[in-house]
Symmetry: C2
């Protein structure tokens, strides 16, 4: 135990990203390991939101729409673009992830004429599968569940679209985006990636890999706040042919002309639907400022080191009392999932001791390690708290 | 002029809703007549939003989801229910109006099996028409444009759904919801109402009129803030059969069970899609507090009186220099639209003089009269400012 204490202290002292924790408004008494579900608030968000209400809304009133609000979805999208390897003009912030998955799938099916199957990762976050079923019903296609490692078994000339999560929400496993995208393209299908559990975690190269459409959420590792709006990526070369099924006035080429027919905007704005939700969007805008000057390679290195150190602590302090579900090698995101038959109760008891993770049924304890604010000391304290709990049970 | 001044002063002094203006954070120098586009901020919103960020998010972190956030869409929906004549359990706040129009139309088409036409008011706010075209394409139906006064010409056994705006966004004309709904039902079709320009304006009786589905926005006369989330109404007797096309986990009967198949919630929650946008939703929650104890009959009476007084001022001060587009009788909402060939420039010049309305192409000046914070003095000052502008032009 003493040795782990010393290791944690040394790792924290030498952490090149350690200075970033001060950017977050976190209770020092709490070990917060649920940033993969809801990121912690960057300090500037509260004041910014208040300013938006009092000044931009209260004083400028309707004038703020043309002055600054209308283009905010694209402007904030440009802040996310470098985090996903996208050149400018290809990312827009709008709606929820579920709604964007729907836009992405229907839009992608239309990019694959004559093909009638939507392949979906069978262990995907459920909402993706629900929305895929609806998209299939409405586009006259069908959903085919698949195991990511066995994509070859399902890909065919019938495959229109494949929807995959880069990091599995439950196990934390990281999939090989390059290899999967290549296979999907070799089958003549469109690759749609859900980045909810990977954006803000590791370098993503959407442009370089030729991904067709991607969506992601902003309230996990991007710390946008509860339910903050999601984003959608469509590369330049596909935008003219991308016809999404929610053609609200926000995606119109000339929204204030109030034309009676829909004509999509020429660029990524066509992925917008209705009126953007400005308070949440500008809270996200403020939250994204913490990424200025942050190198994603360093983020990834710390995330692997943090999760690796946590697994080491678990091994040493907990032994075989829990099963580490997350891959021990490099193919993992920044969460560690542990299996225990009493996971639900343990998560509640840990929370009562100010160690906050979460529970995913039926038997998984999840711990997220956001490299911008989680310390090695946090990782050790969490493992120790869990060990103590199990020891007290005898 | 002196007589109008005296009338305005007397009307304001006797206004039973006059006390409510103090609830809003409005610059006293500004005459704000664009609450039909973006309502003014109720005073408590800024502090509430800051509290949500600092306390609910910052201190409670993920614990706020089960403690208070997850059910907020239904809870805030219950605050809107009495404003639209809905018994509890039938209104939920979620997504944008455009997205809810899509849910409403696809859901309503499914409530009218075998029928293949979606009738849409030809002068509707454009986004409704755009979304209707998409809903039609995906459900194998077609859009039929109609004039509201001539619904009989288009209703038939082919009509699945009729989508109408209660108040026309451009002219301010109020349609007869009771008569139109009755006609639609007589044809065996479903009535979907867009309440964007009528909610917060007049008593609405969705339950009593047997409306099938309704949607509305909250950032106009409900003052929820820029792009605040919209609402959707589905009456109890149709909920079990209402299958909307965006089945995100938010609408699942057991969202945290992470089941692999979608099973809709039994009640109005099935109209939810993805993760709710909490900052904007709780800003709206705070904004709706100003309606506590407010009688919609009084709101309607003041709205008619305010718009009537404004029309009177326009007649007296502007004569034939502008055309009053809005109906002069009772069939109007709380906006007055004036036609002038140079409307766009005039709106900009008025704004420069702190009289804020808005412009709708090609030639309409719109002035919204929110009874909770607009005074008769504001109405007079606006008419006079416009008269001065035109007089200076000679």
């Amino acid at each position: 135990m003493t040795e782990l204490n010393a290791r944690a202290a040394k790792l924290d002292a030498e952490d090149p990203l350690g200075y970033l924790r001060a950017e977050f408004d976190l209770d020092p008494a709490v070990v917060y390991l649920d940033g993969n579900s809801l990121g912690a608030p960057p300090r500037q968000v509260a004041g910014r939101v208040e300013e938006v209400v009092r000044e931009q809304w209260g004083r400028r009133l309707i004038r703020s729409w043309p002055e600054r609000w209308w283009v905010a979805p694209e402007r904030v999208g440009e802040k996310i673009a470098p985090l996903v390897g996208a050149a400018p003009g290809q990312v827009v912030v709008a709606d929820s992830t579920s709604v964007n998955v729907f836009k992405a799938l229907v839009g992608a099916v239309r990019l694959a004429p004559g093909r009638r199957e939507i392949v979906v990762d069978a262990t995907t976050f459920p909402t993706d599968g629900y929305v895929a079923e609806s998209a299939a019903e409405l586009t006259g296609t069908m959903v085919v569940p698949a195991v990511v490692d066995e994509l070859d078994d399902v890909l065919s000339e019938r495959t229109a679209v494949v929807l995959l999560n880069q990091v599995d929400y439950k196990t934390g496993r990281l999939h090989d985006m390059a290899a999967a995208t290549e296979k999907i393209h070799a089958a003549g299908a469109r690759a749609v990636w859900d980045l909810c559990h990977s954006v803000g975690v590791l370098p993503i190269e959407l442009d370089a890999l030729g991904v067709d459409v991607a969506v992601g959420c902003t309230y996990k590792f991007l710390n946008g706040g509860p339910g903050s709006p999601a984003f959608i990526y469509v590369p330049h070369h596909l935008q003219a042919e991308f016809h999404q099924p929610l053609p609200g006035w926000g995606g119109h080429r000339d929204p204030f002309a109030m034309e009676s027919s829909y004509a999509p905007a020429p660029g990524i704005a066509r992925a917008r639907a209705g009126t953007p939700d400005i308070l949440s969007l500008l809270a996200l805008d403020a939250a994204l400022e913490v990424w200025d000057g942050v190198d994603m390679t360093a983020v990834r290195a710390k995330g692997l080191a943090l999760t690796g150190f946590f697994i080491e602590c678990v091994d040493e302090l907990l032994g075989r009392a829990v099963e580490v579900v997350t891959p021990r090698g490099e193919w993992r995101g920044h969460q560690v999932s542990l299996r225990h038959h009493d996971a639900s109760t343990l998560v509640a008891e840990l929370t009562a001791r100010d160690v906050i993770g979460d529970y995913r049924p039926p038997d998984v304890l999840r711990f997220g390690f956001a490299p911008l604010y989680v310390t090695y000391g946090d990782a050790l304290r969490a493992a120790r708290a869990l060990a103590d709990l199990l020891a007290e049970r005898g």
